[in-house]
């Protein structure tokens, strides 16, 4: 038997090394991931007049822009992305592989490339943008542009998760629903979506997180104007030029907000999962 070829002492040494290895890996992960977060919060309270700074207009406006735009972006992503993910999951049509790959593209491309693309497509001299401009519709350098940039970079995260969620739903459930009189959209809404809900939630969280952190595409396509297009990442970047207190305060706020939202999602999803 191969197992018995190792002597006792060797085995024990091996086991000890394994434990050490696992412990080291865990420690490295926690320190590497946790220390920057902790450092921001600690420095924010130590080095700045935290509560003064967070009430300054730079901070409140950036937070408002970020929260408002990401909320709208998420709504668009979910409303458009869910049926899209469902169709991709349930139906085979010519060009299916192309659509699939297209959806993955924004994940792979650098955000700046995405921003350039949005500009070339929807900017004043863009392919579609030119016509829109003639019609009086301005997109680049507006809050709309921020939302579009966020949707562009974040939607793949949701659609991927949603599609995987739908793939995991037994198609017989929908078949039964059809025989009971549900239309295709009826079965989609009443059966597929509720059963896939945990995956949809997880995908929404990922997409929201990505949208919140979006920088490269936003700065190219929407520019940076406090109160209109300056999101929290942009504000942190810009205000770093003046001093460290605003970035610290903003970052701490963002950490707090993100933590709260993620926790809420987790609790909701957890409860949802329990009822299934």
């Amino acid at each position: 038997m191969p197992e018995q070829q190792l002597d006792r002492p060797e085995q024990r040494l091996l086991a000890a090394a394994e434990t050490l290895g696992a412990g080291m890996a865990g420690l490295i992960a926690v320190v590497f991931l946790g220390l920057p977060i902790f450092a921001i919060i600690e420095r924010a309270f130590e080095k700045t007049d935290f509560f003064d700074v967070i009430s300054s207009s730079v901070v409140t406006e950036a937070l408002r822009v970020s929260l408002m735009t990401t909320a709208v972006s998420l709504a668009i992503i979910v409303v458009v992305g869910t049926p899209l993910a469902y169709v991709l999951s349930r139906y085979r049509f010519p060009g299916h592989a192309v659509v699939d790959t297209l959806i993955d593209l924004p994940i792979v491309l650098p955000p700046a490339v995405g921003g350039l693309g949005l500009l070339m497509a929807f900017g004043r001299r863009g392919i579609l943008g030119e016509w829109l401009d003639d019609a009086g519709v301005e997109i680049a350098f507006t809050t709309t542009a921020v939302i579009m940039a966020q949707v562009f970079v974040a939607s793949p995260f949701y659609i991927r998760a949603a599609k995987a969620g739908f793939d995991a739903v037994d198609r017989d459930l929908e078949n039964v629903a059809y025989t009971l009189g549900s239309s295709r959209s009826g079965a989609f809404l009443r059966v597929a979506v509720p059963v896939a809900a945990p995956s949809l939630m997880a995908g929404a969280v990922m997409a929201w997180a990505r949208a919140l952190g979006e920088f490269g595409a936003t700065i190219m396509f929407a520019g940076s104007l406090p109160g209109e297009t300056q999101t929290v990442p942009l504000a942190v970047y810009r205000s770093l030029e003046t001093g460290i207190d605003v970035p610290l305060a903003l970052s701490t706020l963002l950490i707090g907000v993100s933590f709260a939202v993620l926790l809420t999602f987790r609790l909701l999803a957890g409860r949802g999962a329990l009822t299934l």
Partner: protein, 356 residues
């Protein structure tokens, strides 16, 4: 009265071809066949989930599908109650909500009454607030049935309804299903691989093997008079011998099988090559020749004993192989063991001949 089911469809799925022609006068219709025969594909075609390449489907005289006129009814319009193999319960809904699913448009009072009725009929009144994952296999099956019945379908389609249940549960549920069907007066088409279920439930049985119907008829026809070797093997005939009819005596064919002489059967003429079919339950064993009412006695040597619950399956070599099913008690009494010489006997009436 139009037949329960009149179907003639063809469908290619990869390398498998479903080519079914069947007219079943009334139900419950049980379609029986081994796994891979195309049973689920057939059920899905009837339900409208799969559209066959060509053909026609009529249930109770109502056309559900006709490729000739280009007509296909969507599952929503077929008025069939589909109970899939794993029951397909909606995991996010309670028992009550599951049953209520198809009653969306119905007035709340009517709906409520019907659901209460069905809960009682299926014995689930105490479970109405539970979720599927909190139910046993038998309970889930009943929910699936109740849900299908709630919309008052023309016919129930059940795909292997008892496959994942243990034997005692199965027995009880078969009775319950029969009760339910007669109480609600719903027609049913059941698909299964289990012979016992077919025998107990079915009014009309069709044997589906490798995509086509080999034989259809009453239970006794199928089980006692299989018309081909394949069907015979599937319905539980374990001894199939190849022989030739030599003569007819006293109105009974005399078949020569590997040097043995067998009397019995019907419907064949001298010179016919035939298959001699014997059910193991009909073969008795003794140590010595004994006078008995059985006309056929073959000397054989026991080759194998296979326990089967309270019975033992005895395989014997009499030239060709014979199989008998005897009680354990009999085995002990006769001190049967491999190598022991015995006499295998069976009545002429137990012999079923299939012309080759």
């Amino acid at each position: 009265m139009p037949p329960l089911l009149d179907v003639a469809i063809r469908h290619r799925l990869g390398s498998f071809t479903l080519d079914v022609e069947l007219t079943a006068p009334d139900g419950p219709l049980v379609i029986i066949g081994p796994s891979g025969a195309g049973k689920t594909l057939l059920v899905r075609s009837l339900a409208g989930i799969v559209t066959p390449d060509e053909g026609r489907i009529e249930v109770n005289g109502r056309t559900l599908y006709d490729s000739a006129s280009g007509m296909t009814l969507a599952p929503q319009s077929r008025r069939v109650g589909y109970v899939p193999q794993e029951y397909g319960l909606f995991p996010h809904l309670t028992v009550r909500a599951n049953i209520a699913y198809g009653l969306r448009g119905t007035g709340s009072d009517t709906a409520r009454r019907r659901i209460d009725e069905l809960l009682e009929l299926t014995g689930l009144s105490h479970q109405e607030a539970l979720r599927p994952r909190q139910l046993s296999g038998g309970q889930r099956q009943r929910v699936s049935l109740a849900r299908a019945l709630a919309v008052q379908p023309d016919v129930l389609l059940l795909d292997e309804p008892f496959a994942s249940l243990d034997v005692p549960t199965r027995q009880a549920l078969i009775d319950d299903l029969q009760q339910l069907l007669s109480t609600t007066g719903t027609a049913a088409i059941v698909v299964t691989h289990d012979r016992n279920e077919a025998l107990r439930l079915g009014n009309y049985i069709a044997v589906l093997m490798n995509g086509s119907i080999r034989q259809a008829g009453s239970p006794s026809e199928i089980f006692s008079s299989p018309q081909s070797e394949e069907v015979a093997a599937f319905v539980g005939v374990e001894t199939i011998l190849h022989g030739c009819v030599r003569a007819t005596e006293d109105g009974l064919p005399v078949v020569e099988v590997a040097g043995h002489r067998i009397e019995g059967g019907s419907g064949v003429g001298t010179g016919d090559a035939v298959l001699v079919c014997l059910r193991p339950e009909d073969v008795t064993i003794s140590r010595e020749s004994q006078p008995s009412s059985a006309r056929n006695h073959l000397a054989a040597v026991v080759t194998r004993l296979v326990p089967a619950g309270p019975y033992v399956r005895v395989e014997m070599d009499a030239g060709p192989t014979l199989v008998a099913m005897v009680t354990r008690h009999a085995v002990e009494e006769l001190t049967l063991a491999p190598g022991v010489q015995v006499i295998a006997s069976f009545k002429a009436s137990a012999v079923h001949l299939i012309r080759k």
